[in-house]
Amino acid sequence: MKGMVFTEFLEMVEAKFSADMVDDIIDDANPASGGAYTSVGTYSHEELVDMVVALSNRTQIPVPVLVRTFGEHVFGVFARSFQQFFEGVPDALTFLSGIEDIIHAQVIKLYPDAQLPKFDCLREGNQLTMIYHSDRHLADLAEGLIMGCGQHFGDNLTIQRDEVNELSTRFIVTKV
C-alpha cells in the first residue's frame, strides 16, 4: 500500500487524538517496517489494519467507524494533491464512475506493480452501483472515500451497502 495512506492516517490520528496516540498505536501494532513511514514508500496494508485495530482498542471506537472516517478524510487530501483528476468533472457520481478507467489507469502508469481494488460500476441516472472487489477487506475505506467524494463535490449521497460475498461488496450510491 502506498506510503501516503500511512502518513495521512497517522496525521489524522495526531490531529483528531494526539501525538501520543500515534506513538501508542505504533508501539501496540509493532509494525515490521518500524513505523517510520514516508509518503513515497510502499508498505504492507496489514500494518495499517493493525494500527487501526490498536486505535480502536485504545479509543473504544469500532474499527469500521475509524476506517470510514479515515476514508472521508483521505479523499479530501487526494482532492487537494491531485487536482488534475477533478478538472471538468461535474459531480461525485461522474467522478466515482471514472475511478476504474481514469484514476486507476493513471496509478498503474506511475506504479506498475500497485495492487488496486476493482470496481464494477453501473450508472443509472442519479444512481450508481459500484461493486468493490478486493481481498484486503477494506470496504469500509471504500465507503469512507465515497462519502468524502460526496462532500468534496457538495453532493448529498446516500449509500446502501451489502456484502455480495467474502471478497465483494456492493454499494448503491444515490444522489439525493
Partner: protein, 442 residues
C-alpha cells in the same frame, strides 16, 4: 517520592520524544534512500533511452545509405540498359538497312513467281524488324532522357492528311471506313514536333486498324479546355478490352494479354512510347474501352498557334545564297561529294578543306561568310579548328555550322561552347540544310 515520580515521568517523556525523533529520522533516511534509488533508476533509464535513440539514428543512417547505394545501382543499371539497347538498336539498324535495300534491288530484278514471293516476304519481315528496332531505340532514348523535341511551326492539316492517306488503302482492303473529323476551332498552323505527333497518330491508327475487323476507325481533332492545347481522339469499333487490360496498357513491354502478341504481333512498346511522348509534349494519353464494343484513345498535347511558312521567302533566300563565300571542311570523300552536290542545288559553290588544319590555313587567307565543319577529322578536329578560327583577328566573323553524326544535346552544347553557331546532323538532308541556311540568311 514526588520528586522520584516527576523524574520518572520526565524520563518517560524523554524516551517518548527520543523514540519519535528516531522514527522521524528513520523516515527521512528511508525517503532519501528511496529518492536516491529512484534517481538512479531514472538516470539509468535515461542512459538506456539515449543509447537506444542514438542506435536508432545510426540504424536509420545506415539504412538510408544502403538505400541510396541501391538506388544509385538501380539507376545506373537502368541507364546502362537503355544505353545498351540504344547502341544495339543502332548497330542492328545499319546492316538491316542494307538488307532492306538489297531486297528492294532484288525485287526489281527479273524473278520467278516463287522468288518474288520469297523476296516479298523478306522485305516485309525486314520492315517489321526495322519498326521493332525503331520502337526499342525510341523507347530507350526516352527512358534515358535523351529524346529532344523539335519546336517548329508546321501545317497540322497537311500532317493529318498525309497520315490518313497512309491508312486509307489498308482500310479499304479490310473493308473498314476511315473517318476524319476536324473541329473548326483547331488552328491549321501550330508549333511543335511534327515527327513525334505523326508517330503517335500512326501508332494509334495502326492499332485501331489491327484490332478492328469490321466497322469504322476514326480520327477527331478538337480544342481543349486549356488554351493552346489540342485533344485528339482515335476511335474504333474493334475488339476493345476490359479493365484489367486497360490498366497495363501504357506500360512498357505489356500488351492486353500474352495471346495478343501471338495473334496480333507487336512489341508492346507502341503505347508506352505514345505515353512518354505525350508527356514530353505537355499532354497526356488515356483510353476508354469496352470489350467487343471498341476503344477510344484520347491524347492532349501543347499546340501554340504557329506562323504560316511561305514558299516565296525560300525562293528569295536561295537566290541570295549564291553570293555567299562558303568553306566546306570534310575528310570523307563521299560525304564531301554529297555536301557539295547539295550546296550546288542551293547555287553555292563551296571551297573545300579536307581537315581542320587546312581549314584554319584557308581561313587565314580568305574571308568566308560560312564554314560547314565536320567534327571528327584527322590532323585537327572540328572543335579545335573552330577554336583556332575564333581566336583569329578576322575582319569578318564567319558563321560556323557543325556537321555532326551525333545529334545528342551534349555534343551540340560542345559545338556552341567552341564558338560554333549551329549544327546540322549527318547524313545531311537537303531540307535541313536549306532551313538552317535560311535562318542565317533570310
Amino acid at each position: 517520592m514526588e520528586a522520584q515520580q516527576q523524574t520518572d515521568a520526565l524520563t518517560l517523556l524523554e524516551q517518548r520524544w527520543q523514540k519519535r525523533l528516531d522514527r522521524e529520522r528513520a523516515a527521512r533516511k528511508e525517503a532519501e534512500r528511496l529518492l536516491e534509488e529512484k534517481s538512479l533508476a531514472l538516470y539509468e533509464r535515461n542512459v538506456e533511452l539515449r543509447e537506444l535513440a542514438s542506435n536508432l539514428e545510426k540504424l536509420v543512417d545506415q539504412r538510408t545509405n544502403e538505400l541510396a547505394v541501391a538506388l544509385k545501382k538501380a539507376q545506373a543499371a537502368t541507364l546502362a540498359k537503355s544505353e545498351f539497347l540504344a547502341t544495339m538498336s543502332h548497330e542492328i539498324r545499319t546492316p538491316l538497312n542494307g538488307v532492306l535495300g538489297m531486297a528492294q534491288l532484288l525485287f526489281d530484278t527479273e524473278l520467278s513467281e516463287q522468288q518474288r514471293e520469297y523476296v516479298s516476304n523478306l522485305k516485309n519481315t525486314s520492315n517489321t524488324l526495322l519498326a521493332i528496332i525503331n520502337d526499342v531505340l525510341d523507347f530507350s532514348k526516352i527512358e534515358a532522357g535523351k529524346l529532344e523535341l523539335e519546336s517548329i511551326s508546321y501545317d497540322l492539316y497537311q500532317l493529318v492528311k498525309e497520315v490518313c492517306a497512309i491508312f486509307k488503302l489498308q482500310a479499304q482492303q479490310k473493308g473498314l471506313s476511315l473517318q476524319v473529323e476536324f473541329n473548326e476551332l483547331v488552328p491549321r498552323w501550330i508549333v511543335g514536333d511534327p515527327t513525334r505527333l505523326r508517330q503517335i497518330l500512326m501508332n494509334l491508327l495502326s492499332n485501331a486498324m489491327k484490332f478492328t475487323e469490321s466497322g469504322t476507325v476514326g480520327l477527331a481533332l478538337m480544342p481543349s479546355v486549356e488554351s493552346d492545347v489540342l485533344t485528339v481522339c482515335v476511335w474504333d469499333t474493334g475488339v476493345g478490352m476490359d479493365e484489367k487490360a486497360r490498366s497495363k496498357l501504357f506500360q512498357a513491354f505489356s500488351q492486353a494479354d500474352a495471346s495478343t502478341t501471338c495473334q496480333y504481333g507487336g512489341t508492346g512498346l507502341g503505347l508506352a512510347i505514345c505515353d512518354r511522348l505525350t508527356t514530353l509534349m505537355g499532354g497526356r494519353i488515356w483510353v476508354e474501352s469496352e470489350q467487343h464494343k471498341g476503344s477510344r484513345f484520347y491524347f492532349t498535347f501543347a499546340a501554340p498557334r504557329g506562323k504560316e511558312s511561305s514558299q516565296e521567302i525560300r525562293v528569295e533566300t536561295i537566290k541570295s545564297l549564291a553570293e555567299l563565300k562558303v568553306l566546306l571542311v570534310e575528310d570523307n570523300a563521299i560525304n564531301r561529294l554529297v555536301a557539295t552536290k547539295l550546296l550546288q542545288k542551293l547555287n553555292i559553290n563551296a571551297a573545300i578543306a579536307v581537315d581542320g588544319l587546312e581549314a584554319v590555313a584557308m581561313t587565314e587567307k580568305a574571308a568566308y561568310d560560312l564554314i560547314l565543319m565536320d567534327m571528327q577529322m584527322p590532323n585537327m578536329d572540328g572543335l579545335t579548328a573552330t577554336q583556332h578560327i575564333r581566336a583569329m583577328n578576322l575582319s569578318k566573323r564567319p558563321k560556323i555550322i557543325a556537321l555532326t553524326a551525333n545529334a545528342m544535346n551534349e555534343d551540340q552544347e560542345r559545338c556552341l561552347a567552341a564558338g560554333m553557331d549551329d549544327f546540322i546532323s549527318k547524313p545531311i538532308h537537303f531540307d535541313q540544310l536549306k532551313q538552317t541556311l535560311a535562318r542565317f540568311y533570310p
